[in-house]
C-alpha cells in the first residue's frame, strides 16, 4: 500500500543530503548580504540536511566571526533546530489549550503510546518523528497538527491512526 497524498516536505526529506561541506559553504555564501544572517542560515542548513550538523558549527562560527560556543548556544536555544536527522515524515502535534479543549491530551497519549514514542522521538522504521507544538493557529478546528507542513484538523485517535498507519505502510512498500 502506498499513500497518494503528495507532500512537499516528504520530497524534500527524500532529498535530504548527507553532510557535505561544499553545500554548507554555498549556503553560507548565499546568505552573505543579510542583516542578522544566523537564523536564516540555520534554517537553510536544516532544510538541506534535515538537521544542523555539528560539523557545520565551526564553519558558521568562522564565517560570522562568532565563537563556536555562541553558535551552539543559539542552535540549542531554539526548539526547531535538530541535532540529528528526523524520520522521513514529521508530525507536529499541537499540545496547547484550544486543542486541549477538544481532546488533544488523549490524542497525544494515544499516538505516542501506539508508536511507543516520547515527544521528539522517531519510530524504529524511521518513518515518522512526532514533535510537540504549542499552537498552529488552527484553534477553531482543533485538535490540529502539521504533517510535513500540511495542516490537519479536527483529529481523533482513529483518524490520526489512519495517517500514521499509512506512513508506516509506505515505509514497508
Amino acid at each position: 500500500m502506498t499513500i497518494s497524498r503528495p507532500s512537499p516536505l516528504s520530497e524534500l526529506l527524500q532529498g535530504v543530503a548527507p553532510w557535505d561541506e561544499e553545500t554548507a559553504r554555498q549556503i553560507l555564501a548565499t546568505h552573505g548580504g543579510l542583516e542578522g544572517p544566523l537564523l536564516p542560515i540555520l534554517h537553510a542548513l536544516q532544510e538541506a540536511f534535515g538537521h544542523v550538523p555539528r560539523a557545520a558549527v565551526p564553519l558558521i562560527a568562522e564565517h560570522l566571526n562568532l565563537s563556536r560556543a555562541e553558535v551552539l548556544g543559539v542552535v540549542s536555544f531554539y526548539q526547531d533546530f535538530r541535532e540529528a536527522p528526523p524520520g522521513r515524515h514529521v508530525l507536529k502535534l499541537c499540545r496547547a489549550e484550544a486543542c486541549q479543549s477538544m481532546g488533544a491530551v488523549a490524542l497525544a497519549a494515544d499516538v505516542l503510546g501506539r508508536l511507543e514514542l516520547d515527544w521528539g522521538g522517531t519510530t524504529a522504521d524511521g518513518a515518522l518523528t512526532v514533535e510537540a507544538a504549542f499552537c498552529l493557529g488552527l484553534c477553531a478546528c482543533a485538535p490540529a497538527a502539521l504533517l510535513d507542513g500540511e495542516p490537519l484538523a479536527r483529529l481523533t485517535p482513529p483518524l490520526l491512526a489512519q495517517v500514521t498507519d499509512a506512513l508506516a505502510a509506505e515505509a514497508v512498500a
Binding site: L39, A98, C135, G137, C139
Partner: protein, 518 residues
C-alpha cells in the same frame, strides 16, 4: 466562464479545501466546463470551511461547509448559477454570522486574491498610503494617535505614541519590525490576515515607515506558519513589482523594503526585545527595559515593533479618518477587536467587532454552544497567560480596562471555550508547565518558579499536605507576579489564580477522596 472563490487559508485546507478543488477540477473537465477558481484567504467562519463561493449577478453566493462528496450534487443542482442546495448560505455578507460584524481590518480578507495588487486596490487598498504620502510624518502620527489605536499584541500600548518616539529619535537608520510571532494559543488572526490580505500589513508597515523615516522592515513570524510565509513572500514580490516597495515608493522619494524572517519554535520570541535579539541572530533572551526598542531597538537603531493587527489597522484609519475609527468602541478601547473564537465551540472563527461587546454575546450568539454539545464550563481569554472565566463572568465587556478589573486580560483577543469535561487544576498545572518549557531563563522567579509550580500542583492534585501546599502556591504566584522580568513569568499566575478562584472545586477534589497514600 464561471468564477468561483475557494479559500487556501491553512484552516480551510486542513478542513479539505484542496481536495474539494481537485474534485471540482475533475468534474468540470468531465462536463466540459471552464471554471476560473480564485484561491482567497478565509472570511473567518472556520465552521463553514471550506466555503465555496460563486459569482452571480446577485453577488457572490456561498456554499459551506463543502465536502468532496458534495461537489457532484452542487454542480447538478445548479450551484454555478447560485442554485439551491442544503449547503447554500446565500450571500455571505448577509448571513447573520457576518452581517453583525464590523469588518475594518478584515474587510478584504477572504474576498480578494491575496497576491494581487490590482485586486487590493480595487477593494480600497492603498488609499491610506496615498493619503500618507501626500501628508507629512507628523500628520500621519497625529491621525494614528487620534484614532485611539492601541497595540493588538497584548499590552495595549498606544501605537501613535510609540511611532512618535521613533520619529523623534535621530539615527542614520530606523526599522519597522512586525511582530507576527502569534504564539498565544487560541489566536489565529495574524495568520489569517497574512494569508488572506497580506498587502494590508505591507501597506500598514509602509505607512509606518513614511511616518517615522524608516527604510527597512522585517516581518518576524513563526515556523508553524508555512502558508503565511508563502503568502507574504508572494505579496511582497507583487508590491515590489508594482512600485509599492523599493527605492522610490510611487515616485515619492521614500525608500522602504520588507523581508520575512522565520522564528524557530520559541514562544518567548514574541516578546519584543527577545524578538529583536532573535532577528539579530542571538538566543531569544529578554532585554531589560530601558532602553526602549523605540530608541535602541534592532541593531541598536530606533525601531517600531508592532503586532500584525496594529499595523494592518492603520490603512483603514488613514483612508477613513481617525474620527471614524475612534467613534467605535468603549472607554479607552477604541475601534474594533478581531476576536478569535476557538476550542470547543460549535461556530468558531474570527469575529471583528467594536470593543465593548460582552463575552457572552461572543460565546453564545456567535459560538452557539460547544462543539461536543456538552454544557459550557469555562473560557480562557487572551492566550496561555490569560484568565479562565466561568459562566457568571461572561457579561464582562471586551475592553482592556474591564478585563484588567476582572483579573484577566484581553491579550491578542483569543477566546478559548471549554465544556464541562475540563479539569481546571490540570489547566493550572499546564500553565506552569508551559512557562517552564518556554522561559528564556534570564530571571529566577520564572525559570525556577515555573518548575516549582508544576511540583506544587502535582502535590495538590495528589492531596498531599493541602493547606501547606495551597500556601506555597499562593506565595509562588505572588513572587512570580512581582519579581519576573517580563510578562511570561509575570502573568503565568493569571491562569493559575483565576482557575483556583473561580473553580476551587477542581483543586479541592483530593480533600474529598479517601486519605491519600502517604
Amino acid at each position: 466562464m464561471t468564477r468561483l472563490y475557494l479559500p487556501c487559508d491553512a484552516a480551510a485546507v486542513a478542513l479539505g479545501a484542496d481536495q474539494v478543488m481537485r474534485v471540482l477540477e475533475r468534474e468540470a473537465a468531465a462536463r466540459g466546463l471552464t471554471l476560473d477558481v480564485i484561491r482567497t484567504g478565509t472570511r473567518g467562519a472556520v465552521w463553514l470551511e471550506p466555503l465555496l463561493e460563486v459569482e452571480t449577478p446577485e453577488g457572490r453566493i456561498g456554499y459551506g461547509p463543502v465536502t468532496t462528496a458534495d461537489v457532484v450534487g452542487l454542480l447538478d443542482t445548479g450551484m454555478l448559477t447560485g442554485g439551491d442546495h442544503p449547503k447554500r448560505i446565500g450571500r455571505p455578507e448577509d448571513h447573520p454570522w457576518f452581517a453583525r460584524q464590523t469588518r475594518l481590518t478584515f474587510a478584504r480578507c477572504g474576498i480578494v486574491d491575496p497576491a494581487s495588487v490590482e485586486d487590493y486596490r480595487a477593494h480600497g487598498g492603498y488609499a491610506g498610503l496615498d493619503r500618507a504620502l501626500a501628508a507629512e510624518g507628523p500628520v500621519i502620527i497625529d491621525e494614528v494617535k487620534l484614532s485611539g489605536l492601541r497595540g493588538r499584541g497584548g499590552a495595549g500600548f498606544p501605537t501613535g505614541i510609540k511611532w512618535n518616539t521613533v520619529a523623534l529619535a535621530q539615527a542614520d537608520r530606523k526599522y519597522i519590525v512586525c511582530n507576527a510571532d502569534e504564539g498565544d494559543s487560541g489566536t489565529f488572526a495574524d495568520r489569517m490576515l497574512m494569508e488572506g490580505d497580506p498587502l494590508s500589513l505591507i501597506e500598514g508597515m509602509t505607512i509606518a515607515a513614511v511616518a517615522v523615516g524608516a527604510t527597512k522592515g522585517f516581518i518576524y513570524t513563526r515556523s508553524e506558519y508555512p502558508h503565511a510565509i508563502r503568502a507574504l513572500n508572494r505579496a511582497i514580490a507583487a508590491a515590489q513589482r508594482a512600485g509599492y516597495l523599493g527605492a522610490d515608493i510611487q515616485g515619492s522619494g521614500h525608500a522602504f523594503d520588507i523581508e520575512v524572517r522565520m522564528g524557530a519554535g520559541a514562544y518567548i520570541c514574541g516578546e519584543e526585545t527577545s524578538l529583536l535579539d532573535s532577528l539579530e541572530g542571538k538566543r531569544g533572551m529578554v532585554r531589560a527595559k530601558p532602553p526602549l526598542p523605540a530608541i535602541q531597538g534592532l541593531f541598536g537603531k530606533p525601531t517600531v515593533v508592532n503586532n500584525v493587527l496594529s499595523l494592518a489597522s492603520v490603512p483603514w484609519i488613514m483612508a477613513n479618518g481617525a474620527a471614524a475609527y475612534a467613534a467605535l468602541g468603549m472607554g479607552r478601547s477604541l475601534g474594533t477587536l478581531p476576536v478569535q473564537l476557538a476550542g470547543n465551540v460549535a461556530r468558531g472563527g474570527l469575529i471583528e467587532l467594536p470593543f465593548g461587546v460582552s463575552l457572552r454575546e461572543i460565546v453564545e450568539d456567535w459560538g452557539q454552544g460547544t462543539r461536543t454539545g456538552r454544557p459550557f464550563r469555562a473560557v480562557q481569554v487572551g492566550g496561555p497567560l490569560g484568565a479562565y472565566f466561568p459562566d457568571a463572568m461572561l457579561d464582562t465587556p471586551l475592553d482592556y480596562e474591564a478585563f484588567a478589573k476582572a483579573g484577566g486580560l484581553l491579550g491578542h483577543g483569543g477566546v478559548t471555550v471549554f465544556d464541562d469535561s475540563v479539569d481546571l487544576a490540570a489547566q493550572a498545572r499546564f500553565a506552569f508547565e508551559f512557562c517552564a518549557h518556554e522561559s528564556c531563563g534570564k530571571c529566577t522567579p520564572c525559570r525556577i518558579g515555573a518548575v516549582r509550580g508544576v511540583e506544587v500542583m502535582d502535590r495538590i492534585t495528589a492531596g498531599v499536605d493541602l493547606d501547606r501546599n495551597f500556601a506555597v502556591l499562593d506565595d509562588l504566584c505572588e513572587l512570580m507576579t512581582d519579581a519576573s522580568l517580563c510578562a511570561m513569568g509575570g502573568l503565568t499566575p493569571v491562569p493559575v489564580r483565576s482557575a483556583l478562584t473561580h473553580f476551587p472545586e477542581d483543586f479541592d477534589r483530593a480533600r474529598h477522596l479517601p486519605a491519600a497514600a502517604e
